[in-house]
Amino acid sequence: MIYEVFRQERKGQPLQHAGTVTAPNERFAEIYAREQYGRRQESVALWLVPRDAVSEIDEFPDEFDLKYRRVDGYSIKARLREAREKAGTLELAPEGDR
């Protein structure tokens, strides 16, 4: 069986994918992962997850084009210019921000 191994380098840091081990059961997987990813004190925690137990999502379709959830959904620049013109403050804004 294949186990995905995640390791944490220091307390407080995220667990990151480190690699995989093949083992016939969890007990062996723990021994192998400890040897492979922890014997030089390079990890403070390891997570072992059987590959079959991982559900992967790697497509994020946006059928309805929900622009308001994305940064490109807002046209601040043109509006800001208009507002500044209206208020007569356009000249006061920094050169690169007009």
């Binding site: 994918h17 995989t20 059961n25 192998y32 040897e35 390079e42």
Partner: protein
């Protein structure tokens, strides 16, 4: 080339990385398997010349350090074979092809280790040459391989430390010890110059084109020479190549052209220790077959 393959090529050439489950062209997959498998084979075969010296290491401390290095290298082989397995070739098949002589392993592991001086030169300079290549693989377009390379590079830097310490102890020892280092350097210089391969330009090297490697062979060799020629010479050692010097104008190292035919012969199994090493690997594979059986039986 079809559109999908061209898009893939553009993607990896602009720094994109690929995961196990992603679509990839057959040629890319085949090249990855061959390259990564050879890397795994090299880690596994690379422990044999060092294994010969576990019982003969001069002190207990050296014995322990050498044993730890050997464990690291076998560990690297395990990590690397896992990557190959995910690309479609099982570990058993890799080992079969290794012991039958069908698959290759790195040139430096086809040579004998005659003295403790060789053990020091291997740990210091062969590992230094290897770390140049492996650092360049941190940017490999195949992400799972690049990720394990982080750990591998980190451990290789321990080995260089161990090798340098062995060398310094001998250099500062008796004249006979110094001589053992010089003789080992004389023996290992040619294999070291072969190590990064022929001077194929990056654009013609398919491994670079697919961004499996991120560096031309010659650039890797230049980097090795930049890092180590002065470190070797400052110890009073003589590099056995009278033509070796840095060209001030081009800022490149000039050296006697290595015999590339010889390199080809060595890596196709005609090196001085090739047959002996493969025979030993075959034997140990039979010897430990019971372990696999017991482990699988216990798990069942």
């Amino acid at each position: 080339m079809d559109t999908r393959t061209q898009e893939f090529l553009d993607y990896v050439q602009s720094g994109g990385q690929v995961e196990t489950g992603d679509w990839m062209p057959d040629e890319y997959r085949a090249r990855l398997v061959k390259f990564i498998e050879m890397h795994g084979n090299s880690e596994l075969m690379g422990v044999l010349p060092e294994r010969d010296w576990i019982l003969r290491a001069p002190t207990l401390q050296r014995k322990l350090a050498l044993t730890a290095k050997i464990q690291d290298e076998v560990g690297h082989a395990q990590l690397i074979y896992r990557v190959v397995e995910d690309l479609g070739k099982p570990r058993g098949a890799c080992l079969d092809d290794l012991v039958s002589g069908k698959a290759k392993f790195h040139n430096v592991f086809h040579y004998p280790t005659r003295t403790w001086g060789d053990v020091g030169v291997i740990a210091w300079l062969v590992d230094a040459a290897a770390i140049v290549s492996q650092k360049a693989l941190l940017k490999c377009s195949y992400a799972p391989y690049a990720r394990i390379m982080k750990k591998i590079c980190w451990e290789e830097s321990f080995h260089i430390l161990h090798g340098r310490d062995v060398i310094l102890a001998m250099i500062t020892g008796t004249p006979e010890q110094f001589e053992l280092v010089q003789e080992a350097l004389d023996r290992w210089w040619e294999p070291l110059m072969h190590f990064h391969g022929n001077r194929i330009p990056a654009e013609e090297d398919p491994m670079y084109v697919w961004r499996i490697k991120s560096q031309a062979n010659e650039d890797a060799r230049q980097e090795f020479l930049d890092g180590y020629v002065s470190q070797i010479r400052e110890l009073g050692l003589e590099i056995p190549d009278p033509s070796l010097r840095k060209d001030e104008e081009t800022d490149r190292w000039l050296y006697t052209e290595p015999d590339w035919e010889k390199l080809r012969a060595v890596v196709t199994g005609h090196g001085p220790a090739s047959e002996e090493r493969l025979a030993f690997r075959r034997l140990s594979r039979q010897d430990v077959a019971w372990v696999e059986k017991v482990v699988l039986a216990e798990a069942a």
